[in-house]
Structure formats: structure tokens, C-alpha cells
Symmetry: C2
Subunit: 507 residues, 2 copies
């Protein structure tokens, strides 16, 4: 590859959506499955998910939650109980109608004699079935709070899919909790939003805005929906996680009641909250560059790859022994509470191609070792947060001491770069709807995908404005938790308005 | 509870199958779900599964495997490709036929306009869909071996279900690997069998017999099926894990081909192997007693519970402070590479009832602390491998040093007890079919569930014997890997036979 070229074609500038697909392919993260709308998560992509799971699970347990597992299939009668909820999900669910196949005219078909009396749906989310179970677990105020999380697959029949961002089946976690009072449930809802924020920023290096969704964007059946919103490199918004206060809606439809301390029967207050493999899509669109993925060390499946340079066959034994020695030293290092993961890539292929594979995969550190390095008792270190050719000679003595420090620097650099992009592209000075429209109108009609960014402005919440926004393909992302509190006027209607909202195009 | 009674009613002796259900209930492990044949795995049960996952996952990675994720849904056209396989699974699979619901006469029904052109089944196992994906990944001998594992839910429509042992949906891992040669694939098949054996014995304290399944018990589509078989306390066999050499059957049906070093196109050899939440059923039926569950420390969600004894309100503060001090000390201990998990149970309830809850849950160690213990700078320690009332005073100085040693002793004791039961109940001296029949005929017709145990004997493998065995409700469990090699005669037909097999009633 010539020096001026990039490993990913097209570049972000040339064609952002296609660049995204090419990064996934080049980093070997996932691919479309032989089932419509579903994906195969390949080992490098799944390794990121395992680290996301580990990081979140630790935080869930630290806040008192326990994991459990509930059925994949939901009877229609349970789904129907919450009216708004069924309205929200009935249009996109996979329906199981038979429990056996049989041969008919030489073809395998659902057996007519094995038709279910009541069809079952594959869970698109589990409020209804978990609510049914919780109604048996909760009897008294002593049983509360009930703090449960589930790691699971869910399925929503999506018509337009995109790897990680929107697929029919995806992996996620869904927290479901039950509380005695509105206050306790709201505290939980906001606590889990904060867990998501801290995890996103500290581990994914993904700066987010925390806020509340407007009424028309609430989860079906929720009283309040909170979210974390992140800005991608094309300056569109990605909803990266949600936390819902469900009020007593699901408690009433599922009959979750308890005897309070005074012996009175009360309906409970419930919450639910979730993040999914979509976070990996957000990670890619935030940190990847025109050379491929860049992985924040906290969630990288491996931190360091050692690339032996073997100019002639007789050097092989010595170089591999040296590589093993270095790997053993690095494996003793710790970074962020986890042993540093190091891999020696001994595959028989051209060195340049091998390096570029790892650059595209986004591994934080590459170490080259060859005969000359053995002589000088040193290695060549390459960092993924710097140029592909930029290297540094590190002595063997200094290496162990600098590994975890360098990983921490890379993690910080990625976060800072993402935060800068976001800060530079949130406009809070837009005064009226004309300026607002100009901001969201693509300057280059041929490339509508890269646009202006976020607008932070006051909004009157009048439902008629929703259609105006929809015409612009702009959505109200959230009402940030941080508010100025100052009075002003709605950026769309000019009517008096106090609350500020984030507006953006979105995924 | 009176001293002579047991916490679980009925006892094993009184009614073994019902005892099993009652242990699950008393230990709060799982319950039947509001969907036919499915279960809810409750936090204490799921905590065991998390430890099983952690232990196995470490061993899979140590043997070079990586995790990935494949779709839940399989198109019929893929399932149909392997004739034996579809024959084995078509009769028990959930079929998705629609992708939307609609209201019709006030009821939610599958929308006729959203009927799928090709029905999809929920994976009962994933050989066919993973094979289809692997056929695109494998091009050259350089891509081999391909060593993949998946943690997933699967579904088989079972008519008679029992918690953990046989449910429609269950959680499992399925390994799927591709190799260039028969030798490599057989090595993998046996290596994973050994991983299962070592894990079962070292972590679950579950002694197992490793062997090969007879032809009529093979996995549909496999050339060879190996298994680990364990003896439960009613002396029935439980198949606890299987490892299959699939030959080139699935490679041919899925078209998994590669260019070998000579540039010739070859079909690959594949394997698959799996264990499931059924292991938890095996754990219960092996280690639980008439007082409830007994958890091997290696897979216990928590190792130690501290029970504060507060005789009068003014003692509370001091006792809780003392409990915290002890918990902090214990949390610093390590057992089997993991921090010792300690929990202080501060719930406001009778001390006796609280102790018995933890006995029934099977926690390895209970520590009582009260005002007198503060005085003597000591604690009262109760071990789950000893009588419920048997206790030992341990000084605060001695406590940290003995925790992990005691946990190791308990782990060993459970294994030894299970191994003794198994060894005592494998009969290898049964000479003819009359004696064989007597051995497997219940001595007490009212309690057919407790029976003689395993028979190790020679068998001629004549297919007609399978019906004779079936009439006795006896199955051929496996041909153990360890064979005497001596000639002899078939225990059923008296014909000459060399190979020995394990016969047993089974789950």
C-alpha cells in the first residue's frame, strides 16, 4: 500500500455509510447471516462484547443487581396485557405457530397437527413475561426492591438492517426492577442511567449526553424514558442505552402487588433498562478512522500483538524465543484490573500485510521484534493512536513499566478526541427556525450523510412541531439532565419555552 | 424444626423424584415458567451457571477456542441439508411462520399478510447454520483448524419436562470446529471430552465415566458420539455432556471445502460438542441431601454467609461492626483463583429460619457472630459437609488462614462421596441376562426410582438386544474409553464379545 493511501476504502469523507461497513469487514467483526436481518458476530467482535458484558456486569452487581434467566417465548395473552406495549411491538415480532415439522409432497412443512393453540412470540423485550413471574415473587415490602438483570438475545423484525446498529436479532442486557415507591423506582432509573454514562465514558471512551426522551419517543408503556446519546463522526446521534421508569403501568397489567408496612395492598413501581450490541456500532463510528478500527484498551479483546520479523530462516528460532520472552513479561502486566492480553502472531505471511491486518483490527499496541532488536535488547513499539509508521524503540527493561501507562494514555486520547468532536459540534446559539433549518440542510446534496451536528435549544413541546422536524429528518434526542433553567423561546415556534433539548439527525 | 426431621420433605429414600423438585424449590434455584416446558432460572441457580460458564470458558480458551455468535433462527432449507440430522430434530422444533401480529375481531393473531415465504425454526442445535457460515470462512488449509464456541439458548419441543434436566428451552455452549484431517478432528473430539471430564470432576465434583455412545444413541448426523456419564444418588445415569466427530457429513451437506497444501480441494472434517444447564440438575442429584442443596465451593455463587446473632437491640451495632470486620478479612482470601465471596445476611428474621435457608441453598460455610464472639475474638463456623448443628469455634487470627483450606476440603469431600457411591454401584461381575434382569428389576415395586446402579459388561452390539434392553427400561450408556481388552461373552446373548459397555437406567 502506498504511503498516501488509506487501508479503508472509501474513507469517511468519501462515503461514511459504506466506510462503516468496510471497517466492520476489515476488522473482521461481524457479517450478515444466512437468515434475513440477522448477523454473525465473529470472534474479534464477540471479544469486544465479552468485555462490554464483563464491565457492565461488574457495575450491575456493585449496585446490588443479580442475574437471572427468563423464557425466550412469550404467550400472546401476556403480551396483550399492556395496551401501549403491544401496540409498540406487535408489528415487528417473530411468531411461533407450530412445534413440529413434517414431510409433505417431499417438502418439510409445519405439521398441521402440531399447531399451537396459542401462538408464542420471540421476546422483543421481556417486560410482560418477567412481570408475570415477578407478580408471584413479590408479596410483601420485605421482598422489595427486587433487582434483576438478564443477558439475552431478543428479536425485532426490522425491515432495514445494518450490522450492530439495527438487526432483527441482537444481544443485550435488560434490567427489570420492582420498588415500593415512586421515589425508589425513580432513583433506580436514574442510577442505571448513570451506570450507563460512566461505563460508556470510562470503558468505551464514548462521551454521552444524558437526558430524558420527549413524550413521543418514550418506550411503549413507560412513564419516563431516559437515554444516553452519543455523537458519531458524521455528527449524527446514536441512542446508546435507555432506562425507563414504568410507573405502575406494568405492575397493574401484570398484577405486581405487595403488602406495605401498614398491611395495605399496593401496586409496585417498576423500571427497566438496557444496552445492546449496538454499543459496538457506536464504538466503531466514534473511534474508527480511515485505516480501520481503533479499540479503546478497556474493551479490546487483546491489547498487544507481537510481530516477529524473520528476514532469513536461520533467524526464526532466536526471534521466536525473544518474542516469547517479551510476551511472558507483558502478560504479567495489569491494565484496568485485568491482565494485559498479548498475542504473538506467528502466521507465515508478509510482514506488511500482517501489520496492516492488526491496524485494521484496531489493536492498541503492536510490537515488532527482529534480529536487530535481540542485539539491542529492545523492541519497536507502534501505537494505534499515532500514525501507522510512527514507532518508538523501547528497551526491554523499560517495556513492562510502560505498557499499562501507554494503554491508559490511548484510552484517554480516544475519549478526548471524541469529546472534542462532540463539543465542537453542539450548537447552542441557534436562534430561530430558519437558522435551524439551514443547519440541518445538507451543504453537499451528493453527501447528505455528513451534516452539521447537534443543536441544543429551547423547545415548547407542541406536538405540531414534531411533523416539522420529521420533514427535516431531525429528531428530538433528549432533554438533557443539565438545564440552564433560564426562560427563553422555542427554536421552532418562537413561543415561550424554558426547557432545553438536543436536536439531531440520528441512527 | 425438630432435630430428627429433615429440611426437605420427602427425603431421597421416600420419593426421589419429588425430593429433587423440593430441593430446587428450597434452594430457590429455578421454577416453571408461564410458557409450557420452559423454566425461569432464579438468581441462585443462575449464579451457579455463571460459574460453570466461567470455568468452562477458561478451559475452552486455554485449548485455543474463540467465542462467536450465530443466529437463533434457521431457515428450513438449511436444516434439510443433512438427512439424518433433520430426521432427528424436525419432530421437536418451534417453527416461526409469521413476522407480525394484527388485531382481528378484537384478538391478536398472526397477520396473514406477514406470513414468511420460508418458515424458520428456532435452533435446536446449530450445526446446519454454522456449517453454512463456515463454508464461506474456510478456503485453504491455512484457515484450519477453525475452533469456535457459542454460548446460547436452544429449544427442543419436549413433551415431558423436568427443571434443568429436560426443558424446552435451555442454555448451553456448543463448540463447532473444522479440521483438515480425520486425525485432527478426532483429536479435537477426544480433547473436548477430556475438558468436560476434568471440568466435571475438578469443579463440579462430579465423577464421570468417559466413553463412546453405541451406534443407536449417536447424535443425528455424527460418525462417533462420545459422552461423559455420571451416576446420580438414585443410581441412574445422567448424560452430562457429549462430543461428536461428525466426519465429513456436515462438511458435505454444508459444502465446507478447502485447498490443501498440494492445491487439491478437500472436504473438511468437523466436530461439535456441548454441555448445558442440565449440569446443574446433575449437580443437585449428586450432592444434595435431605437438608437441601450442597454446593461444591468451586461453583458456589457465594462461599461464606455471615449470620449476625443479635439477642437484644443494643447489641446490634457492635455485632454488625464485628460482622463487617470479619467479612472484610474473608473477602481478601482467595480460593481456586477467585476471591472468596462472602455475604452478611442482615435480614430481620428468626436466626434458626435464616440458618436453615442457607443450609438448603447449600452455601459451603456459615459463620455465626454474636456478642459472646466479640468478647472472645472468635466466630462459630458451620460447614455444609457436616451436620447442621456441628460447629467449631475459630479465633479471628486463625480464620483467614483456614477459609480456603476448608473450602478445598469440602470440595474434595463432595467429590469423594460421589466417587464412592459410583464405585460401590458399578457391578462388573454380572454374568448372564437373568442376573442382569434381576439387577435392573425394582426390589420395591412402590419405589421403582431407586435401583441397582450401573452394570459394566461385555456386549455383542447385536441390534436385536436393543429391544430387550428397552423392555427393561435399560439403556447402553457408553463403551468406556478404558477397556480391559479381554475376550468374553455378551451379557445379553452369550455370544462372544470383546468390548465392555456401561448399562443403566437413565434420565
Amino acid at each position: 500500500m502506498a504511503a498516501a493511501e488509506h487501508a479503508i476504502s472509501p474513507t469517511r469523507e468519501q462515503d461514511y455509510p459504506e466506510w462503516y461497513q468496510q471497517v466492520i469487514k476489515a476488522a473482521d467483526l461481524a457479517e450478515n447471516a444466512p437468515v434475513r436481518g440477522c448477523m454473525v458476530i465473529k470472534p474479534w467482535g464477540y471479544g469486544i462484547w465479552e468485555n462490554i458484558q464483563r464491565g457492565l456486569d461488574r457495575r450491575f452487581k456493585a449496585t446490588g443487581h443479580e442475574n437471572a434467566y427468563f423464557p425466550l417465548l412469550i404467550p400472546l395473552s401476556l403480551l396483550e396485557k399492556e395496551a401501549e406495549h403491544v401496540e409498540g411491538f406487535a408489528k415487528e415480532c417473530a411468531v411461533v405457530t407450530h412445534h413440529r415439522l413434517e414431510l409433505k409432497d417431499g417438502r418439510l412443512v409445519p405439521a398441521a397437527s402440531a399447531q399451537l393453540e396459542e401462538p408464542l412470540i420471540i421476546r422483543p423485550t421481556s417486560e410482560t413475561i418477567i412481570g408475570e413471574v415477578f407478580s408471584k415473587w413479590v408479596k410483601s415490602y420485605r421482598d422489595l426492591p427486587l433487582l434483576i438483570n438478564q443477558w439475552a438475545n431478543v428479536l425485532r423484525w426490522e425491515m432495514r438492517t445494518r450490522l450492530f446498529l439495527r438487526t432483527a436479532e441482537f444481544l443485550w442486557q435488560e434490567g427489570h426492577t420492582v420498588h415500593a415507591s415512586l421515589e425508589d423506582a425513580m432513583h433506580e432509573t436514574l442510577q442505571m442511567l448513570e451506570v450507563y454514562r460512566a461505563f460508556s465514558e470510562e470503558e468505551l471512551a464514548l462521551p454521552v449526553i444524558t437526558g430524558e426522551k420527549p413524550a413521543h419517543e418514550r418506550f411503549p408503556g413507560a412513564v419516563k424514558t431516559y437515554c444516553i446519546e452519543a455523537m458519531m463522526q458524521d455528527r449524527k446521534a446514536l441512542q446508546a442505552g435507555t432506562s425507563h421508569y414504568l410507573g405502575q403501568n406494568f405492575a397493574k397489567s401484570s398484577d405486581i402487588k405487595f403488602l406495605d408496612e401498614q398491611g395495605q395492598t399496593q401496586f409496585a413501581h417498576t423500571t427497566s433498562w438496557g444496552v445492546s450490541t449496538r454499543l459496538i456500532g457506536g464504538l466503531i463510528m466514534t473511534h474508527a478512522d480511515d485505516d480501520g478500527l481503533r479499540l479503546p484498551p478497556r474493551v479490546a479483546p487483546k491489547h498487544v500483538v507481537i510481530l516477529p520479523v524473520i528476514p532469513k530462516p536461520e533467524a526464526e528460532q532466536g526471534v521466536l524465543a525473544y518474542a516469547n520472552e517479551i510476551a511472558a513479561q507483558i502478560a504479567k502486566c495489569e491494565y484496568a484490573g485485568r491482565a494485559v492480553e498479548v498475542h504473538i502472531d506467528k502466521r507465515d505471511m508478509r510482514g506488511g500485510e500482517k501489520s496492516w491486518q492488526w491496524i485494521k483490527k484496531g489493536i492498541p499496541l503492536r510490537i515488532e521484534v527482529g534480529p536487530r532488536d535481540i542485539q539491542s535488547r529492545a523492541v519497536m513499539l507502534y501505537r494505534r493512536d499515532r500514525g501507522a509508521k510512527e514507532k518508538e524503540q523501547i528497551s526491554l527493561e523499560a517495556l513492562p513499566g510502560m505498557i499499562s501507562r501507554t494503554l491508559a494514555e490511548i484510552q484517554d486520547n480516544y475519549f478526548r478526541a471524541a469529546k472534542d468532536l462532540c463539543d465542537r459540534n453542539v450548537r447552542s446559539d441557534i436562534e430561530d427556525f430558519d437558522e435551524f433549518k439551514r443547519f440541518f440542510t445538507p451543504q453537499n446534496a451528493a453527501k447528505p450523510e455528513i451534516h452539521g451536528g447537534f443543536v441544543l435549544a429551547k423547545w415548547c413541546e407542541d406536538p405540531v412541531t414534531v411533523q416539522l422536524l420529521s420533514d427535516l429528518k431531525v429528531t428530538v434526542r433528549c432533554e438533557p439532565l443539565q438545564q440552564s433553567g433560564r426562560a427563553g423561546k422555542c427554536v421552532i415556534t418562537g413561543k415561550p419555552a424554558t426547557k432545553e433539548f438536543i436536536f439531531a439527525k440520528s441512527y
